[in-house]
């Protein structure tokens, strides 16, 4: 782990060569969601009339308290769940369960959208790191030499080449996250979905990850991430969508505007009454102060 930055030239090589020629113009909408609703077991709502657009090359952050529907939205955007009501259109085609049964459509969609799950343990399911990274390309039916070349490139890019033959249980949390990202990047997707990418990572790995996301974005990747890490928001997002606890989009705007709308953040339960947001350099930092316990008790009551 000599450096925390990713050389854009190196990035372009493994990720740029076989990219499917995108017909989408820069800035054109890649994802269009209209009035999507979803309820687990048809009983517990997770999305309620959500509409949004994701444009090519932008960095979108989904903000909201736990259980507001951010993760569900990401799963819908990855074609893993399908809305009960409303529509989801990706790359100009409607994404439905039926459409994804079509092998050609499914292969195209799966290779163009990559999802980095919050739980790396669920995503890293293969016996070794190398097999893990090979999993996606194997499903795509790529020739063997191409798979091997790509694996070596992506291992080098994420600085995990020495881990190639390790088993997942021999990896630390940060290493597992890198392997999970490598297993997605190897397919060179246009859109990367991150679910709480910085959760449970040490500060050093967090910084590395933020830098990687920025580099990927500079290389033309569209980024959508769910997060409640307010510290990194201004760095990693151009635009924020704020979810309310009733599973709707409560607000949309630049990170700067959202972070300064204290009333909004309180209303969606993202911050506590005692959370202070400090201006620190270019970013914002939120933290809590110790307060009178009696005050807290009153608050809870």
């Amino acid at each position: 782990m000599a450096s925390n930055t990713v050389d854009p030239d190196r990035l372009a090589r493994p990720l740029g060569d076989a990219a499917p020629a995108s017909q989408v113009q820069p800035g054109a909408p890649l994802f269009i969601c209209e009035g999507m609703s979803y309820a687990y077991l048809e009983r517990f709502p997770a999305l309620d009339g959500v509409s949004l657009e994701v444009r090519k090359g932008e960095k979108v952050a989904l903000l909201g308290a736990n259980g507001c529907g951010k993760s569900t939205l990401l799963k819908v955007l990855d074609g893993l769940m399908f809305p009960d009501a409303g529509t989801f259109t990706a790359f100009g085609e409607p994404v439905t369960e039926e459409n994804l049964e079509d092998e050609q459509f499914s292969m195209g969609f799966r290779s163009r959208v990559g999802f980095i799950f919050q739980n790396s343990d669920a995503q890293v399911f293969s016996p070794t790191v190398r097999e893990e990274i090979a999993f996606g390309p194997l499903q795509m039916g790529w020739p063997r030499e191409k798979i091997d070349r790509r694996i070596d490139d992506v291992l080098g890019m994420l600085e995990i080449a020495p881990l190639a033959d390790r088993a997942p249980f021999q990896l630390s949390g940060g290493e597992k996250k890198r392997v999970a990202i490598a297993s997605v990047l190897v397919m060179n997707p246009e859109v990367l979905l991150f679910d709480e990418p910085t959760a449970a990572l040490d500060p050093r790995t967090q910084a590395w990850l933020v830098e990687l996301i920025l580099e990927l974005n500079r290389a033309g990747k569209t980024i959508v991430m769910a997060t409640h890490d307010l510290d990194i928001l201004e760095t990693v997002a151009d635009r924020c969508l704020v979810f309310s606890e009733d599973h709707r989009i409560a607000a949309e705007g630049s990170p700067h505007r959202v972070l300064h709308d204290r009333e909004l953040l309180l209303r969606v339960n993202l911050i506590h009454d005692h959370t202070h947001i400090h201006r620190l350099g270019s970013g914002e930092e939120a933290h809590e102060h110790e307060h009178d316990p009696a005050h807290h008790a009153a608050q809870r009551a």
């Binding site: 799963k75 990855d78 074609g79 893993l80 092998e103 499914s106 292969m107 799966r110 290779s111 959208v113 990559g114 999802f115 799950f117 739980n119 343990d121 669920a122 995503q123 399911f125 293969s126 016996p127 070794t128 190398r130 097999e131 090979a134 999993f135 996606g136 194997l138 499903q139 795509m140 039916g141 063997r144 798979i147 033959d165 088993a167 997942p168 249980f169 021999q170 990896l171 630390s172 290493e175 297993s183 997605v184 397919m187």
Partner: protein, 315 residues
């Protein structure tokens, strides 16, 4: 506990080797069972599994004769040798085969003391103990070579047949265990898995076995966490009420199943997200080299010699 493996010059002995209960299998259903906290026992079992897996991978990385062989050739050859072991009918033949496995262990850089200990503790030793009654005439009748007492006018004692049968069983068990230990200690388990395909195990099962093995360690950590936190909460309050203990086991295992099921849903999504549609496609590359062919031929020759020699010895 997951990011370090026991590297170093000294070979660590897996704890289960020394703490193993005397039983035909770890289930302890036959044989002596020790009293003690079920939580402690489960925890030490969990640590044992982790250690043994990591230790096994360490040995498999060493440079030795068997480590250099193609896993498919190795699996087929050892399976063949296991079958030959099962057909042998004379103790000297089995002793010769056992000696050969020790030789193979030496040229494969396995510490000799460790290898012998790992094989004999505890299945062959246990076998040796439970087989004792079978040496007597009331179980294995035949020529009594050591009469011990008379019953209704007939001598009762150890028979030649019983003694030979006991020797055969112990040596056969020891040789079989030796072969399996030799195979698994010299092959990283991922290669073992990939090599299983040479036995026409369907890919889908290879995929499931690989994933099952991978998640054993994750779930093992969950169990360890649940029990460790329980231990922390119940210091000095060790319950002797087995019903309470059973309730704890039921709750822990039930919670574990909940976790496991959620995990399986997440893994499914992670697979689908990367294009999985139900066909098992797996990644592995092997080349059969001259040394592999030589070993396979050697095994066939050995098999013929062993079975031929065994017939020559008669019986």
């Amino acid at each position: 506990m997951s990011d370090t493996i026991a590297h170093g010059d000294a070979v660590p002995t897996p704890t289960w080797l020394v703490t193993g209960e005397l039983a035909i299998c770890p289930c302890g259903c036959i044989g002596k069972r020790k009293k003690g906290s079920f939580v402690e026992k489960t925890l030490s079992g969990a640590v044992g599994v982790m250690r043994s897996a990591m230790f096994g991978d360490d040995v498999a990385q060493q440079r030795g004769f068997l480590q250099r062989l193609d896993p498919r050739v190795k699996i087929l050859s050892f399976l063949g040798l296991l079958i030959v072991t099962a057909f042998v009918r004379n103790i000297p033949t089995l002793v010769a085969m056992y000696a050969a496995t020790v030789l193979l262990a030496i040229v494969s850089a396995l510490p000799l003391g460790f290898f012998v200990k790992r094989v004999w503790l505890f299945i062959p030793i246990f076998t040796g103990i439970i087989v004792i009654p079978a040496m007597f005439s009331f179980i294995t009748p035949g020529t009594i070579i050591l009469p011990l007492w008379h019953w209704n006018g007939h001598p009762v004692g150890i028979t030649a047949q019983g003694l030979t049968g006991a020797g055969l069983l112990v040596m056969r068990v020891a040789t079989s265990v030796s072969l399996v230990v030799l195979l698994t200690l010299t092959t990283p388990w991922t290669k073992l898995l990939a090599g299983l395909r040479a036995l026409y195990v369907p890919r889908i099962f290879i995929l499931i076995i690989g994933m099952a093995y991978r998640y054993i360690f994750l779930l093992l950590n969950s169990v360890t966490d649940m029990y460790t936190s329980r231990k922390a909460r119940s210091v000095g309050n060790q319950t002797n009420d087995y019903k309470e203990g059973q309730r704890v086991v039921g709750a822990t295992a039930g919670a574990l199943f909940g976790k496991a099921h959620t995990l399986s849903e997440e893994v499914h999504m992670a697979m689908v997200s990367r294009g999985y549609a139900g066909d098992a496609k797996t990644y592995s590359a092997f080349t059969v080299r001259a040394i592999d062919v030589a070993f396979a031929v050697g095994c066939v020759v050995a098999a013929v010699l062993v079975l031929g020699g065994d017939r020559f010895l008669g019986v």
